[in-house]
């Protein structure tokens, strides 16, 4: 199958220096557990999970500490057993340099697991399987950390033609997927088999860049074994040409299947879904072993004496990890990810999270400051390099001028921020920075507009409600009066007195009824202070009454005047 696989090409792309050999020399090592784990609750795309633990609580390894909240969200777990020291705001591994809610765990060194039970996905409904994976915190480990349970949905047709497994790993310096495939190919394949079954996919294509021959060989052996076990030849390992960004989902799908997913469509609409090899590994651990996602392979490279891949618990400070590799004296920054798409960290104390595929140590010598930005000369190099077939120069002009609507017309949101355009730009314009700026402005406006729409709707509803309440009140009053009249009319009918005009009679009857009520009420009320009086009191009352009568007599002429 491998030999006969026809490959396609994506347009553009660049060939930067790969620098991958430094970190593939040594096998994966397990990073030591730090003295304090700082586990951010928000580690995936989507809603922020709500904290499930409080300070002082003892947690076990793999215990859920953040519950998925909302439609797009993924749970977070304790990476080891220990005591929750605090749940507070801590600096995030994010370009903003802002803080967010983190769970601080002091490990007790016992590394005690929660009871682990394999999940029988075959007898579970697809919804149950997806809920399980959501609560196991499995997200895409290629870097975008999109919750995997949402992608494990075969779409409208109910089945998939091709499941693409992404082992391309095109970004310089990063080798975490490479070593994972070399060392744990069989486990990855077990995960692939599970995913294929959940998605009812026809074939599986594992795409690996041809600069990783060891990984290709290891995966081929594992794939052959998996095919033999299943008795078919559905899983194929394909070596793809090395060209950045071959590891972009849309780019890899295009190279392997020739399908170009157009603007506004999903790959599942064309029967293809793409996962990272690390994600397949995590799916296997979650479903077959009952272990939630609590660690990952992280490449530590760049300005260090010994670059290497480590299996790191989430929440381990990057500083601890860098210290293991012997950073050189002139190191001045830590980048999460690679040199093309990586994000500069605000500080080296930030923790390793699910999105951390690489901790890249930088220095002025390794990554010299970019030459000053020059005006765009409209050479079109960026358009030639763009792997998403966009027009980066147009998007740049409109983003720079803050004409966001126009930038969007040039499909700004199809930009994968791979950095090829900025890499080839002869004027050294940081194009991606402009796109990121424009994208976040557009997002903010969109959110504001949604909030305004909600406010308008609620205001209009309030006006409607006030109007309705007013009408209801009026109707109630009218009904009450009508009921009173009817009652009176009924009373008249009973008395069988033919009336001159029914309305007058009704009025009279109303008055009569009211007088009746007043009389009845009067009778009910007895002044409490006139009974059981002593003779002295009686005398006093009589005197007062006499005085009153006298005054009434005196007042009579004055009152009469009015008549």
């Amino acid at each position: 199958m491998t030999a006969l696989q026809r490959l396609f090409k994506f347009n553009g792309g660049v060939k930067p220096a790969y620098n991958k050999e430094a970190s593939t020399g040594l096998p994966i090592a397990v990073a030591p557990t730090p003295t304090l784990l700082v586990i951010p609750l928000h580690q995936s795309i989507g809603g922020m999970p709500r904290p499930l633990v409080t300070a002082g609580e003892r947690v076990l390894k793999g215990q859920r500490i953040g519950g998925a909240d909302g439609n797009v969200s993924s749970a977070v777990h304790a990476s080891t057993s220990g005591t929750v020291v605090a749940v507070e705001m801590r600096l995030m591994p994010h370009a903003s340099g802002l803080s967010a809610l983190c769970v601080m765990i002091e490990p007790d060194g016992r590394d005690e697991w929660i009871p682990r039970q394999p999940f029988d996905f075959r007898s579970a409904t697809p919804t149950q399987t997806r809920d399980y994976l959501r609560d196991a915190g499995v997200v895409g480990l290629g870097g975008a950390v999109f919750p995997t349970y949402l992608k494990l949905n075969p779409g409208k047709q109910g089945k998939l033609d091709t499941l693409v497994l992404n082992g391309a790993e095109c970004e310089p310096f990063i080798t975490c997927d490479d070593v994972l495939m070399r060392e744990r190919a069989a486990t990855i394949l077990k995960g692939v088999v599970i995913m294929r079954e959940i998605l009812s996919a026809g074939q599986v294509l594992i795409g690996i860049e041809d600069n990783k021959p060891e990984a290709v060989a290891a995966m081929e052996i594992a794939a052959r074994a998996a095919n033999q076990a299943a008795g078919d030849s559905a899983i194929g390992v394909v070596s793809v040409p090395t060209r950045y960004p071959a590891g972009g989902a849309k780019q890899l799908i295009r190279v392997l299947t020739g399908i170009e997913v157009p603007h506004g469509k999903r790959s599942t609409d064309y029967g293809v879904q793409c996962f990272n090899v690390g994600t397949a590994y995590a799916v296997y651990e979650a479903i077959a072993l009952g272990q939630p996602l609590i660690s990952r392979i992280v490449t530590v490279a760049g300005n260090v004496t010994q670059a290497r891949n480590y299996e790191v618990l989430f929440g381990t400070p990057m500083r601890d990890l860098v210290a293991l590799c012997g950073p050189l004296a002139d190191s001045d920054r830590v980048i999460m990810g690679g040199p093309m798409m990586g994000l500069l960290m605000p500080d080296d104390s930030v923790p390793v999270v699910k999105a951390t595929n690489c901790v890249l140590v930088g220095s002025k010598k390794l990554f010299p400051p970019p030459p000053p930005e020059m005006p765009c000369i409209r050479c079109g190099e960026c358009a030639k390099a763009c792997p998403a077939d966009l027009q980066p120069f147009e998007m740049y002009w409109f983003s720079r001028a803050k004409i966001f609507g126009k930038a969007q017309e040039y499909n700004l949101f199809d930009c994968i921020e791979c950095g090829c355009c900025a890499y080839v730009c002869p004027s050294h314009i940081p194009l991606v920075d402009y796109y990121r700026f424009a994208k976040s402005e557009i997002w903010a406006r969109e959110i504001e507009k949604e909030a305004a729409d909600v406010a308008r709707e609620r205001y209009e509803f309030r006006l409607l409600r006030e109007e309705r309440e007013k009408q209801e009140k009026a109707a109630k009053l009218a009904a009450k009066t009508a009921a009173g009249r009817e009652k009176a009319a009924a009373a008249i009918a009973e008395a069988a007195k033919p009336a001159a005009t029914p309305e007058e009679d009704a009025k009279k009857a109303l008055i009569a009824a009211a007088l009746e009520r007043a009389k009845a009420q009067k009778e009910l009320v007895h002044p409490g202070n006139v009974s059981d009086l002593t003779p002295e009191q009686q005398a006093e009352v009589a005197a007062i009454e006499a005085r009153r009568a006298e005054i009434r007599e005196m007042a009579k002429p004055h009152l009469r005047q009015d008549d």
Partner: protein, 187 residues
């Protein structure tokens, strides 16, 4: 001669009928300009413009009875958008209607709230929950920051708190480069 007149008259009748039919069939309900202006306004319903809500202000703008610079929550950006839509000149925000403030939400100090329900009646978007003699609280995601609940409160327990930046709402900044003066070499 007669035929020509007949043909022209016939043409006029046919076209007139078609236009008349189209006018009935494709009738536009409401005023689309008001809708467009209303879509630009921030829907805080705060009344700072001098009209009881965003829609009446939109109607006044459409009729030419109000200026486009009377909406402080919309700020300069909103005025620019209105100017673009209506083909008018940009005017800076009129001072008598207020100043542009950072987006805030109202917060009730729950210790001091006496449960009078006056703020609930004042809230234009029903974002306050509570009942008579029960503590009230504000549903922050629904609060538009209009400040209409502040004056009726008899115990002044409502305050406006600006919404801070979080990791979720953080925006990439406009790329700005520091220009370092070139070092002049000693002659």
């Amino acid at each position: 001669m007669f035929e020509a007149i007949l043909v022209m008259a016939l043409g006029a009748v046919v076209l007139g009928a078609a236009l008349g039919y189209a006018a009935v069939r494709f009738r536009v309900e409401g005023d689309p300009l008001v809708e467009k202006i209303d879509a630009i306004l921030p829907q805080t319903q705060c009344g700072q413009c001098g009209f009881p809500g965003c829609k009446p202000y939109a109607q006044a703008i459409a009729k030419g009875e109000a200026e486009i610079n009377q909406c402080p929550p919309g700020g300069d950006e909103g005025i620019h958008k209105l100017a673009d839509l209506l083909g008018r000149e940009f005017k800076s925000l009129s001072a008598e209607h207020g100043i542009e403030k950072p987006k805030s939400v109202a917060v009730i100090d729950e210790q001091s709230c006496i449960g009078c329900t006056l703020c609930i009646q004042a809230c234009p978007v029903d974002a306050i929950v509570g009942a008579a003699k029960q503590m009230h609280t504000i549903v922050a995601p629904l609060c538009t920051g209009c400040e209409l609940c502040l004056p009726p409160c008899p115990v002044d327990c409502i305050s406006m708190q600006p919404i801070g930046e979080s990791v979720e709402t953080w925006k990439w900044k406009y790329p700005v480069f520091k220009i370092n003066p070139a070092k002049r070499e000693a002659a």
